[in-house]
């Protein structure tokens, strides 16, 4: 009895001595710690997956994997070092995961939650409400790259093609083209101030700012094209314009509707509003036999073809339609077939540049 008494006393006093610091440590993180006993990455993923599923959050497992991987410093759960799968997480990491996951419960897109996403192998900063690049659009960029590789004659005076992107958003298309075409130069325009800032920031992060001009511009406003004249005739116009039919807008998922800029999505009654504006201004900016590459809705190839036939004055031909990885007609290649009326290409850029103010 006496022995046990002494043991108990020693035990208690030992605990008492360290009690101060430990008590402090507990108080600092325990209130934030969501799940006592859930300590490693794999367990957290399945825990949050279950919660997301119960609350009807789409892509429950992918979402929780991305969040956990992000907090542990990896891009995907698959690429996380296997050691980290079963290692206990720090209280700080647990708290981060907790906070990011509650954003997801509010239907915030994962790309905004992480603040970054990948496009064509580039990591880009993402911030609401700037449109999040879709994986389909990687196919548009691939097509442009193929065409540029096949047509070395369509190359500008300075060695690489001069490209105009309308509606640059986060800068995904422009920056991936710049990074894969080292001789190219890009003029990126967008009417949204947020998009302009984000494209600029991404260009700087990727050290591509020297070959890109980022111009705030609304292509639907009268005579806007004139502001682009000083940069010289373009080899290519690329765009992923807003093309969602207006009546489809309300059926979009909450992730899109409540977080992304509707102006980047809503293409008007037939989704053609911005597309027609781009097609109308392109001939004034393109070189002879310059090309336009567009991402559109699967109903658009026919609509655009018909519209172009009604506007022979534009001298534009729909030369090819390409499908996305799901087999939907998604991309258009439109080519300028003749010299632009009243705007001969060899008049560039001198006299007209002089006319442009600023």
């Amino acid at each position: 009895m006496e022995f046990w008494g002494r043991m108990l006393q020693a035990f208690l006093s030992g605990l008492g001595r360290r009690g101060g610091t430990r008590g402090w440590a507990f108080s600092s993180w325990r209130p934030h710690r969501p799940l006592p006993g859930l300590l490693n990455a794999t367990e957290l993923v399945s825990h949050w997956t279950a919660i997301f599923e119960k609350r009807g959050i789409p892509e429950a497992q992918a979402s929780s994997e991305y969040i956990v991987a992000h907090v542990l410093g990896a891009k995907t759960f698959q690429s996380l070092r296997p050691v980290l799968w079963t290692q206990p997480l720090t209280p700080w990491q647990l708290q981060c995961i907790q906070e990011l996951s509650s954003c997801r419960l509010q239907r915030m897109p994962v790309q905004y939650i992480l603040g970054e996403w990948d496009f064509q192998g580039l990591s880009l900063k993402m911030a609401p409400p700037v449109f999040i690049p879709r994986p389909e659009t990687e196919g548009l960029v691939e097509w442009v790259l193929e065409e540029v590789a096949q047509r070395p004659h369509a190359v500008g005076a300075q060695g690489g093609p001069l490209i105009l992107e309308v509606g640059c958003g986060s800068g995904a298309i422009s920056l991936s083209l710049l990074s894969q075409l080292p001789q190219s130069r890009v003029i990126a325009v967008d009417k949204g101030e947020d998009a302009i800032c984000l494209t600029r920031e991404n260009a700087q992060r990727l050290q591509l700012q020297d070959r890109i001009r980022i111009v705030p511009l609304d292509v639907t406003s009268e005579g806007s094209w004139a502001h682009l004249l000083p940069w010289g005739p373009m080899d290519l116009v690329v765009s992923n314009p807003p093309y969602v039919f207006h009546q489809d807008m309300e059926q979009l998922a909450p992730e899109i509707l409540s977080y992304e800029d509707p102006a980047a999505l809503d293409g008007g009654e037939e989704g053609m509003d911005i597309i027609t504006h781009i097609l109308a201004l392109a001939p004034r900016l393109l070189k002879d036999s310059g090309s336009i590459f567009l991402e559109v809705d699967p109903r658009h190839p026919e609509l655009v073809g018909g519209w172009l036939q009604s506007r022979p004055d534009l001298s534009l031909d729909l030369v090819a339609v390409r499908k996305d990885f799901c087999g939907r007609s998604r991309f258009l290649h439109i080519q300028r077939s003749g010299p632009q009326r009243g705007c001969p290409a060899d008049a560039w850029p001198g006299p007209q540049a002089a006319r442009v103010p600023g």
């Binding site: 995907t76 790309q111 990948d118 879709r134 994986p135 990687e138 999505l265």
Partner: protein
């Protein structure tokens, strides 16, 4: 080299050094002359003896090889092994033959009577044989020198000649080393070159599905870690392509791309079934100290260059995990996983390493290409070596190659009867593993030479 050695011996008297110098300088021309004579004498005899002796050799091949290898791993002297194989008559005869052919060619080419077309092919063969013959002659000369040094040593018995004798012995050792070097050089040029040795690889591990599931998965992880460590030991780049963990820190399946200097050459014999014998760390068997046996398999695929395997895009079906709905701007997805199906072969590759779907597709295509490449290689091999079964080289990747016995703390490679103590050290993937891999490579080379001589005999008949 020889003379500088002499100068260093400062206390040698002048007479002695003159004696040795004269001997050394007079030797080479004498030696060459002597060689020519023997060659002419033996020419007729060897031709008839060659076939029978090779036949005998072939019949005893396995026994001889086994004998050689057993000696090898107990002694672990690399050069010793090579010279032992070299001493074998079949190889000697083969080299003598080549030498003769070379001399005949030499004479033919000096006569003008040969026509243009013939001359070109003779020239080609001449150039082919030249390096081999040069090494062969160097070896013979060096052996001759040793013989003469030995006989000289025997005659130098008197006390006052002791220093000279020591010098001669030293010289003998230097030449012996040179011979060893020449042997391995010759050996290397004789071994048929493997087409894929320089390629990078894709290494896949899969846990076995025997009753001891847990120990299989634990073992799979240990082996995968071992190759990861070996890659850094060899300064290779190790990229994880796929990792499917099991419970309790085990591993179901994983794949990695390993790139660097001659990766396939070193890892090609690692493919196969690896067996483990151990007492599980948890559960009833652990308490009862019962030994479980489990397995895992390693597949090593040489990574092809783009030109080696052409994949027609029409043959590919690409499943991405968003086939339904309107797509494009209508949907915001983060699922970037890609499944690639190669329709003609039914091969399926999946990848979700990257956030970009396009990048995942690129990786999957790379893996697919490697798998298709492997199929062509195996087809090649089947054709080349028909029904022949060698100890190392042609083993299919489905055979058991190695056992890791934890209770006895021992690793055994069944192909060359090689044993290592200290499993823990072995699983570190450093020196121990490297030594075993070197031994496997060497054994495979020896097999290849025997195979080669064998084929040679067959075609000569």
């Amino acid at each position: 080299m020889k003379c500088s050695g002499l100068r260093e011996g400062s206390d040698l008297n002048a007479e002695m050094s003159r004696h040795l110098c004269v001997w050394l300088f007079r030797h080479p021309p004498l030696h060459g002359h002597h060689q020519c004579h023997t060659r002419r004498f033996s020419y007729q005899c060897t031709q008839t003896h060659l076939d029978t002796s090779l036949l005998v050799f072939r019949r005893n091949r396995n026994r001889i090889l086994h004998h050689l290898l057993n000696k090898n791993w107990s002694r672990r002297y690399c050069h010793q092994d090579t010279s032992m194989l070299w001493k074998h008559k079949a190889l000697q005869k083969y080299m003598e033959d080549l030498n003769k052919e070379y001399q005949t060619l030499d004479q033919c080419l000096q006569h003008i009577s040969v026509n243009q077309g013939d001359q070109r092919s003779l020239n080609r063969r001449h150039a082919e044989l030249a390096p081999l013959v040069t090494i062969y002659q160097e070896i013979q000369e060096a052996e001759q020198t040793i013989e003469e040094l030995e006989s000289m040593c025997k005659s130098l018995n008197k006390q006052d000649e002791k220093q000279l004798q020591e010098l001669a012995l030293e010289e003998r050792q230097t030449i012996a080393q040179k011979i060893n070097m020449l042997y391995s050089e010759l050996f290397q040029s004789l071994v048929p070159k493997e087409k894929y040795d320089k390629n990078d690889v894709i290494l896949e591990v899969t846990s076995g599905r025997t009753t001891g599931g847990d120990i299989c998965q634990q073992f799979t992880r240990e082996i995968f870690d071992m190759y990861q460590n070996y890659s850094s030991y060899k300064h290779w780049k190790f990229e994880l392509l796929n990792y499917t963990p099991a419970d309790y820190g085990g591993l179901h399946h994983a794949a990695a791309r390993i790139s660097g200097d001659s990766v396939y050459k070193h890892l090609k014999y690692e493919g196969g079934i690896h067996r483990v014998q151990r007492i599980p760390e948890v559960g009833l068997s652990s308490r009862m100290q019962r030994i479980h046996t489990g397995t895992m398999s390693v597949i090593v695929l040489p990574q092809p260059d783009e030109v080696d395997v052409k994949v027609d895009p029409k043959d590919l079906r690409i499943d991405t995990f968003r086939a339904k709905g309107a797509g494009g701007q209508h949907v915001n997805t983060t699922d970037s996983a890609v499944r690639l199906v190669h329709v003609p072969t039914g091969l399926i590759v999946e990848c979700q390493q990257e956030r970009s779907q396009l990048k995942n597709k690129e990786i999957a295509l790379r893996v697919l290409r490697a798998r298709l490449y492997q199929q062509t290689i195996e087809k090649d091999r089947c054709q080349q070596q028909s029904a022949r079964k060698l100890q190392v080289g042609t083993r299919a990747q489905s055979e058991r190659i190695r056992t890791y016995n934890f209770t006895q703390d021992r690793v055994t490679d069944h192909r060359i009867a090689y044993e290592v103590r200290d499993i823990k050290e072995f699983l570190c993937g450093e020196k121990c593993l490297d030594q075993l891999i070197q031994r496997l490579l060497q054994s495979a080379d020896e097999e290849a030479i025997i195979e080669f001589l064998d084929e040679n005999l067959k075609s000569a008949k």
